[in-house]
Structures are given as structure tokens and as C-alpha cells.
């Protein structure tokens, strides 16, 4: 039993470290993990879930704004990017946030093509992160169900 737990904990640790190393997550994610405890074991999962919902909604709205070349509402797109950049920063979604930085630049110069590329990239990145984090949370659940505790992971 202990071996199973130890193995799962190792897997969890290594997986989370790899997410940081590959740039999917940054320090803010570890800050969020600090806020989770036995009383609120789902805190991080719930926050990122809201974040992914946000992504989906904002991407849809921005997509509509960018649809017709002759009538792009760049103000609306800019507002969407701003919100996305903010929330991705708050959860530690590093790649999503970085795309938003480029996205904002395209928006500032009213580059529709560039915006569309960034939009597609943001869509890709948030979905990729969602899958990765799903795997991470599944590992967490397995550890807890096997009677273990979630390891602290120091990324520094």
C-alpha cells in the first residue's frame, strides 16, 4: 500500500515539476497551491476550472469580433485579451499569458491576421493546459484515495 502511495506521489511530483520546466505553469500556480489545504482540497481545481470557462467565453467573443475583416472591433478584442492576460497571470498559466502579450501587440497595431493567429494559439494553449492539469488532478485524487497526502513541490 505504501509503495503504491509513494509511487503515485513520485509521479505527481515529477509531473508537476515537468509542467513548470516546460513553461506551462509559473510561480503563481505554486502560490495557488499554498492556498489549498485539507479543508479546501479542490481550491486549485476550482479556480482553474473557472479560468478555463473564462478562456472559452472570451475566445468565442473575440472570435466573433475578428470575424469580418471590414468590421473588426479591436476595442472589444483588446478588452478580451486584457481579461485573459489577467486571469492567466492570476492562475499561473504561463504559456497562455505569454500568447496574450503577443496578442495585445497585434491588437495595438490593429493587425487582424496576427490577432487571429494569436487567438488560435491561445485556444490551443488553454486546451493543452486543461488536459495537463486534468492529469495532474487525477493523480492527486489517486493519491488521496490510496490514503496518501499530496506532496509539497518546491520549484526553486
Amino acid at each position: 500500500m505504501n509503495n503504491v502511495v509513494a509511487q503515485l506521489q513520485r509521479q505527481f511530483h515529477d509531473y508537476l515539476v515537468s509542467l513548470y520546466q516546460q513553461g506551462f505553469l509559473d510561480n503563481q500556480f505554486s502560490e495557488l497551491r499554498k492556498l489549498q489545504d485539507d479543508g479546501t482540497p479542490d481550491f486549485v481545481a476550482e479556480v482553474v476550472s473557472l479560468f478555463f470557462e473564462d478562456c472559452s467565453k472570451l475566445i468565442n467573443t473575440m472570435s466573433r469580433s475578428l470575424e469580418r475583416p471590414e468590421n473588426v472591433d479591436f476595442k472589444q478584442v483588446d478588452s478580451g485579451v486584457h481579461q485573459l492576460k489577467g486571469s492567466s497571470s492570476s492562475v499561473g498559466a504561463r504559456r497562455v499569458k505569454n500568447v496574450c502579450i503577443s496578442f495585445k501587440e497585434c491588437c495595438d497595431v490593429q493587425n487582424r491576421e496576427g490577432c487571429i493567429r494569436c487567438l488560435q494559439q491561445v485556444d490551443y494553449e488553454y486546451k493543452m493546459l486543461k488536459t495537463k492539469l486534468q492529469d495532474l488532478f487525477n493523480l492527486e485524487q489517486q493519491i488521496l484515495q490510496a490514503g496518501g497526502t499530496i506532496p509539497q513541490v518546491d520549484i526553486n
Binding site: T40, F43, S49, F51, F52, K85, S87, S89, S90
Partner: protein, 237 residues
């Protein structure tokens, strides 16, 4: 909570309890620090609310400056006599919000008789010195760079420990200017506030249950634009 295919979502009741767009908060224990948090981003509201609760604050989170004014009873010209009981110890607001910015909210609070003494902290994702200056000049207590971290919120608690309870229960304020330096160095800490069991739902299992001035508060220069400002030469002010 078992996870199925999707990441689990915040329960509706929890969202309402946090005060998303809602103004209700449960009856306050008069010893508890009550913070009004203002942010149009749902994700940020959840995070700041959690950060504050973990540091033993009661939180009311609203999604706009207008809601904040409404909550404080400042949204019209009638006197706020009926809000004498309303105890807000700190207001923390995002800067960039549609409608009313955090700066505009700050001004309205500082113009009010009832709440001008309440410390107001501004949060922003952008480290713009002119913006920081404007806010500090208008009376903001501090300026936090987003994303906000636990160490930032712990530091905020030092403003709130200005009221030092002496044995006969009378509150004694520390000199005003000492609080200005609380972010640069830890002044002689007041006695740790006892954490009441009703303080936070997480109670004994909260991450940091030690005194607000735990050694983990880092005061490295990059943490706060305020510190960067304080280190400028006086000639630039």
C-alpha cells in the same frame, strides 16, 4: 470530490457566498478584520478572497466600483448614518475596471466622511509609476502588483494591526508614519492577534496560522512598487 472528465467546478452556493455581484455578508464578529475586495474578474475575486480568508479576514467581494459604493452606502447623497455599524477595515481594489476605475473609487472613498480613514489598496497588473504615484497621492495605502501572492496579503495585515489593543480594551493607534514603513521593515510587532475559531472556515488547517507578522514576509525590493518608489531620491518626488 471525485473528478470525472472535467475539472470540478465551484459550487453555485460557494460562488454566492463569496459575494460575486452579491452584497450580502454574514453578521460580523467585531474583532474580525473585514475587507471589501473589488475586482471585475471572477478568477481574481476568488483568489483574493481566499488569500484574505487564509490570513483570517472576513471578506466581502464585489465586482465593480459601483457595487462597492453601494455596499458602503456612498452611492447617493443621503447621509450614511444607518451605516455606522458597517465596519470595513480595508478596501482592496483592482485598478482597471470597466465603468469606474479603482482610482475613481479611491477618490470617492477618500472624499467620504465615513470611510476616508479606511486604508485603500490598489491592485494592478501593470507596473506604471505614474499610475502608482497618482494612487498614492490620492491617499492609497499601498499598491500591489498582480498576480497577488500570499506574502503581499500578509503584508497588508500590518496596516490593520495599527490598532493595538491594550489590556483595558482601549484601542491605541501607532503613529501614522510608522505604517508607511511597514512594508520596508518589520517594526516592533504588536502582540499577535488571537485567531478566533470563527475567523475562517479553514481554521486550524489554514496554511499560515501564525501571527500576521510571520518571518515569511519578504521585503525584497522587487516585491512592491511602493518600495521601489521609497528608494528613489527625494528630488524625484
Amino acid at each position: 470530490m471525485p473528478l470525472d472528465g472535467g475539472v470540478s467546478c465551484l459550487r453555485r452556493s460557494e460562488m454566492i457566498g463569496i459575494g460575486i455581484g452579491e452584497l450580502e455578508s454574514p453578521p460580523l464578529d467585531s474583532d474580525q478584520v473585514h475587507v471589501l475586495a473589488v475586482d471585475d474578474s471572477l478568477v481574481d475575486r476568488i483568489v483574493i478572497e481566499r488569500l484574505l480568508r487564509i490570513t483570517s479576514c472576513k471578506v466581502t467581494a464585489v465586482d465593480s466600483g459601483w457595487r462597492a459604493l453601494e455596499f458602503l452606502g456612498l452611492d447617493d447623497d443621503k447621509s450614511s448614518v444607518e451605516f455606522d455599524r458597517l465596519k470595513v477595515d480595508l478596501i482592496i481594489t483592482d485598478y482597471c475596471m470597466p465603468g469606474m476605475t479603482g482610482y475613481e473609487l479611491l477618490k470617492k472613498i477618500k472624499e467620504s466622511t465615513s470611510f476616508r480613514e479606511v486604508p485603500v489598496v490598489i491592485m494592478s497588473s501593470e507596473n506604471v509609476l505614474t499610475r502608482i504615484d497618482r494612487c498614492l497621492e490620492e491617499g492609497a495605502e499601498d499598491f500591489l502588483l498582480k498576480p497577488v501572492k500570499l506574502a503581499d496579503v500578509k503584508r497588508l495585515r500590518t496596516y490593520l494591526t495599527r490598532d493595538v489593543k491594550v489590556s483595558d480594551g482601549n484601542k491605541q493607534k501607532l503613529p501614522e508614519d510608522l505604517s508607511r514603513f511597514s512594508s520596508l521593515e518589520i517594526v516592533t510587532p504588536p502582540p499577535p492577534q488571537p485567531l478566533s475559531s470563527t475567523t475562517s472556515l479553514e481554521s486550524s488547517s489554514s496554511v499560515e496560522s501564525s501571527s500576521p507578522l510571520s518571518p515569511e514576509i519578504s521585503v525584497s525590493p522587487v516585491d512592491s512598487p511602493v518600495q521601489q518608489l521609497e528608494m528613489r531620491s527625494p528630488g524625484l518626488d
